[in-house]
């Protein structure tokens, strides 16, 4: 079941919901910035991860969603149950 729809139609259909998602994220980051002691979390791991996620969104596709998932995942070590 590959996508048969033209890219322009997908973009125009989804534009408002994508705009909403970006606004939600922007507002959430503003909320963090308004919090007390904002400077103390400048190197917080979760903030760094969010910045990493934003960088993935700005890069060329495909596979952005999978790359974001991997950013937020523990590493797997093959042979974990051997020896």
């Amino acid at each position: 079941m590959t996508s048969p729809r033209p890219a322009q139609r997908i973009l125009e259909n989804d534009f408002l919901s994508m705009r909403c998602l970006i606004l939600d994220l922007a507002a959430a980051l503003d909320r963090v910035d308004r919090g007390k002691d904002r400077a103390s979390i400048e190197t917080h791991q979760q903030l760094e991860l969010l910045r990493g996620g934003l960088a993935i969104l700005q890069a060329d596709g495909p596979g952005r969603a999978e790359k974001v998932q991997m950013l937020f995942s523990d590493a797997y070590r093959p042979g974990w149950n051997k020896g």
């Binding site: 079941m1 590959t2 996508s3 048969p4 729809r5 259909n13 969603a65 999978e66 998932q69 991997m70 937020f72 995942s73 523990d74 590493a75 797997y76 093959p78 974990w80 149950n81």
Partner: protein
């Protein structure tokens, strides 16, 4: 359109939810055993729970025209109590002849600990010995990628487990290939915040095809939506998918997988 929700915890939902699901087109559900929100203290607690899953819930579902199936296990969250887990695994065969039992599940990993792995493997042994289908929970969030790999490793190391009799649940963008490439069935869970949204689940179907894959609500006692499968149907319709394409994922695929259980009996809504 008729649909099947292959993973929903109706013991945590009110009868209004059954009625809402029926009105939306749900004709059957399967309900894996799971964590109650607290650790149960004895094997008799599980025996009572399994009676609820095999006696009471089928009646409650039937009252609104929904056929109810179930899966039995001790959840990974309780696997740290190895002694209790083994008592429950030993007790499960008491219920394996109940007509709505499809197999062993939802077994799997939660925090990817050694005890969870041990109890998962003992559940696999039970399923292999009794020739039962297997429904697998994969971990949430950070643990999912690593835990899904570990689960697949353990499944592949047991030569008596047939991949086409195993459903790996809660797959997302980074784990769906892992399940499908090794011949397992898989399912996506539609949750409000974690797991998949209807749009992302539709994207995964577009990218990886509609064979051996299904979607569920995993509705439970937490934030969840027991009619989420209907939202997924709407998302595919919005994208211009045919009714036949949608029906394969939300109706025919669950039926094909469930039919591998010798106890599975299903009356199509058209035949009632």
């Amino acid at each position: 359109m008729y649909f099947i929700d292959p993973h929903v915890h109706m013991v945590s939902r009110v009868t209004d939810d059954y009625e809402r699901m029926a009105r939306m087109g749900c004709v059957a559900i399967s309900e894996p055993a799971f964590w109650a929100g607290y650790d149960r203290g004895s094997v008799d607690g599980f025996r009572d729970y399994f009676r609820q899953l095999t006696e009471f819930e089928p009646k409650r579902a039937a009252a609104v025209g929904i056929q109810h199936y179930t899966w039995l296990c001790i959840n990974a969250k309780e696997a740290e109590n190895v002694r209790l887990s083994r008592e429950v695994i030993a007790m499960i065969p008491e219920f394996l002849d109940r007509p709505n039992v499809l197999g062993i599940g939802e077994i799997g990993l939660n925090k990817n600990t050694p005890n969870e792995c041990q109890i998962f493997c003992e559940h696999l042994e039970l399923a292999a010995r009794t020739n039962e289908l297997i429904l697998i929970h994969t971990p949430h969030l950070w643990d999912k990628f690593k835990g899904t790999h570990m689960i697949v490793d353990m499944l592949r190391e047991n030569s008596r487990i047939q991949p086409d009799r195993v459903l790996i649940d809660h797959v997302e963008e980074h784990t769906v290939r892992l399940a499908r490439d090794h011949g397992f069935w898989c399912a996506m869970t539609l949750y409000p915040t974690t797991k998949c949204t209807p749009a992302r689940a539709a994207d995964i179907i577009e990218m990886y095809g509609d064979d051996r894959i299904m979607v569920n609500s995993a509705g439970d006692w937490g934030p969840s939506n027991p009619v989420a499968v209907a939202d997924f149907i709407q998302e595919l319709r919005r994208r211009g998918r045919s009714e036949a394409q949608i029906r394969k994922v939300v109706y025919e695929n669950p039926l094909e997988f469930f039919a591998k259980s010798s106890r599975f009996r299903f009356t199509p809504p058209e035949a009632r």
